[in-house]
């Protein structure tokens, strides 16, 4: 039996439009399930305690990236695979797993392979995949420049050059061995299973109007900055600087399409 944790508010209440066809598809595919509604993303742990039984084969999260992140947090102590049925477009983890829509997510429950993914920790929260740290204005500028279809239609140059005034003074401590100081536009931290299970930390800055990147690997990264910056997992802000991010020796089982390579 699969436990479906549903966030009805995700994707602008999208679940109410897909509820009937979703249940019909689950029944047609003969997937035994129990649907539980999430009232509060902070209470998922309590919800799981009350509903996970011996015959629970896995937990399927129905919602967006924020819902999945909260569920990963709560499920870190359980030995159950997690599946995703995306109901919003901000579910980057679902996209990375090859789950384009709710129909793919439902089919996945019926037929999948289970892959262990490493977890990272930021503050007290767990995360998978990657994090982005940047001044708010850089994130907004990036979003607007990407979505400007009118400029694309005109054939205008879409490349946005961040100005030095957009960068923020940052100090990073890696594994208590390296101290890094620089002006950054963006930091991207990837939890890289292939790279000896460490974090891959990429710093982006602009020098003489040209983009410059730096790459480091570490198990633990402390980030301090002159301005508080949001830390995004997908499109969701999960923390702010200053913070500590680490690769930890913990994994979570993920349901993945059978024909998808293990690398996410």
């Amino acid at each position: 039996m699969y436990l479906l944790l549903v966030n009805r508010l995700a994707g602008g209440n999208r679940y109410k439009f897909i509820e009937r066809p979703l249940k019909a598809t689950l029944n047609r595919l003969n997937v035994k399930h129990k649907i539980v509604t999430i009232d509060d993303l902070n209470n998922i742990k309590e919800l799981l305690k009350g509903h996970i039984k011996e015959n629970t084969k896995g937990v399927v999260v129905v919602g967006g990236h924020g819902t999945v992140a909260s569920a990963i947090d709560a499920l870190a102590g359980y030995n159950l695979p997690i599946g995703i049925i995306p109901t919003s477009k901000t579910n980057s983890l679902a996209r990375n797993l090859g789950i384009r829509n709710w129909q793919d997510g439902v089919k996945l429950i019926a037929k999948h392979k289970v892959v262990d993914k490493r977890l990272g920790k930021i503050g007290q929260h767990y995360f998978m995949d990657s994090l982005t740290i940047a001044p708010r204005r850089n994130l907004l500028t990036s979003i607007f420049s990407k979505s400007n279809r009118f400029r694309k239609f005109l054939g205008a140059n879409l490349t946005h050059h961040f100005r030095p005034s957009h960068s923020v003074a940052c100090q990073l401590h890696l594994d208590n061995e390296l101290e890094i100081k620089c002006q950054i536009d963006k930091i991207v931290i990837i939890l890289d299973d292939e790279n000896k299970k460490k974090l891959t930390i990429t710093l982006h800055n602009i020098v003489d109007k040209k983009p410059v990147i730096s790459i480091f690997r570490a198990n633990r990264c402390e980030v301090n900055s002159s301005l508080n910056m949001p830390i995004l997992s997908g499109n969701e802000t999960i923390a702010n600087t200053p913070t500590t991010i680490q690769a930890i020796n913990k994994t979570i089982a993920i349901m993945q399409p059978e024909n998808k390579p293990s690398k996410v």
């Binding site: 890696l174 061995e177 390296l178 101290e179 890094i180 100081k181 620089c182 002006q183 000896k196 710093l203 800055n205 020098v207 410059v212 990147i213 730096s214 790459i215 480091f216 690997r217």
Partner: protein, 135 residues
């Protein structure tokens, strides 16, 4: 395989890449290639290649497989294979390597010690013995 100069700019080649105007202090231990384009102070210990590019300033002892210096290094360098000081490179320290190359314009201020490879060590055994005279 040793690097060519065209490889220096490719960020995909490197395990660690210190960008321009980035200041790093501490101990860097790496299992992959390291390139310094900014400022580094401390110790660099790589199992593979270390590249100090043209605008870089390094105040550290460097250990690597092949070491290429196009910038400034103030410290000792130990290369298990090759050390190459390029035309814009300047090393102020002692160096140890199997092979050493200094391009015209490159500067080395310090002593240089060449390492023997296994193939260079004499492996023949003498065919006679010297007998000591007994009185």
């Amino acid at each position: 395989m040793s690097k060519e100069r065209k490889d220096f700019a490719d960020p995909n080649q490197f395990d660690t890449l210190v960008g321009k105007e980035v200041v790093v202090k501490g101990t860097l231990e790496s299992e992959g290639d390291v390139q310094i384009n900014g400022y580094f102070a401390g110790t660099i210990d790589s199992e593979k290649d270390v590249i100090v590019s043209e605008h870089a300033k390094v105040k550290a002892n460097i250990t690597g497989k092949n070491v290429y210096v196009a910038g400034e290094v103030d410290g000792d360098i130990t290369a298990s294979e090759k050390l190459e000081i390029l035309e814009t490179g300047r090393v102020d320290g002692d160096v140890t390597s199997q092979a050493l190359s200094i391009e015209p314009g490159g500067i080395l201020k310090g002593s240089s010690q060449m390492r023997e490879t296994e193939s260079e060590k004499p492996n023949s055994t003498p065919t006679f013995e010297v007998e000591e005279e007994t009185k």
